[in-house]
Symmetry: C2
Subunit: 131 residues, 2 copies
DNA sequence: ACAGATATACGAAAGATTTCGTAGTGACAT
DNA sequence: ATGTCACTACGAAATCTTTCGTATATCTGT
């Protein structure tokens, strides 16, 4: 049996910082802070959050320079997937179709996006046939 | 301009109770408790939660009988939609397509569900053309 | 060497969520 | 009428999350 999958489930605040790290790559506290444009927040707040996230294993830091450099440890895809899984279980009884329907009705996707989704459906179909 | 949409954003615990109410309809504390099969939790915990949710307006209660009867005030669809919207903004930069892709890759939907999703895509397409 | 700017460390307050214990009240059977 | 049982009210502990102030260390230019 494969090892139990570890599911990072960042909170709102943590997710905002992770987003900055995913977008810009490994960054110092100040760089992350500067990227949080709209959100008014103190320097030490971001620092503390990143320290806590380091303890939790959500990020790692390189302390070789005076300004420590933080990077997200979990791939963006994995974290997002676990967030989706979480919502799926909590609110949609595990039915991804139900979630998808809500998502598509909530905010209209562009024609291009809809095409992408169709393509994905096609590939899932062929997979389904194969197995 | 239409009135600002009110977005109920229940927490995890609240959502579990709402699920019970959506599933079974208006219920007493004990009925809700009995429905929480797997989750080990005290009677007064559920009671207190429902009381708090009443203050928040997530549920209403009928106090005419000795055992108060609670019912969810917000339609299941609305609450789920706002949960999806929330996740969408927090983690997927508002791109429902991106969320949908993650959802479909996370847990495979049945062939029937995939058909439903296609049908939904079709209807969105025709809407898109019209507007 | 010193002043000023910039970093990290640490503690702790403030808020929100979750949980439960205790007390009080009403119903009901004996 | 009285003991038992189920219910609500209330307060508060326990966690978690978020935020920031203060202390201390390090760099940088003059």
């Amino acid at each position: 049996m494969p090892k139990e999958i570890e599911t990072p489930r960042p909170t709102n605040g943590e997710l905002a910082l992770l987003a900055a790290l995913w977008q810009a790559g490994p960054s110092t506290v100040r760089e992350v802070l500067d990227r949080m444009g709209n959100k008014e927040v103190g320097y030490t707040t971001v620092l503390k959050q990143l320290q806590i996230m380091t303890e939790k294993g959500l990020v790692q830091r390189d302390e070789s320079a005076r300004s420590h450099i933080y990077r997200a440890t979990k791939p963006e895809q994995d974290v997002k997937r676990s967030l989706v899984t979480d919502l799926l279980e909590r609110a949609f009884a595990g039915s991804s179709a139900s979630l998808v329907m809500h998502a598509l009705q909530t905010k209209k996707a562009s024609a291009g996006e809809l095409r992408e989704i169709r393509a994905l459906l096609d590939s899932l179909d062929s997979k389904g046939k194969r197995s």
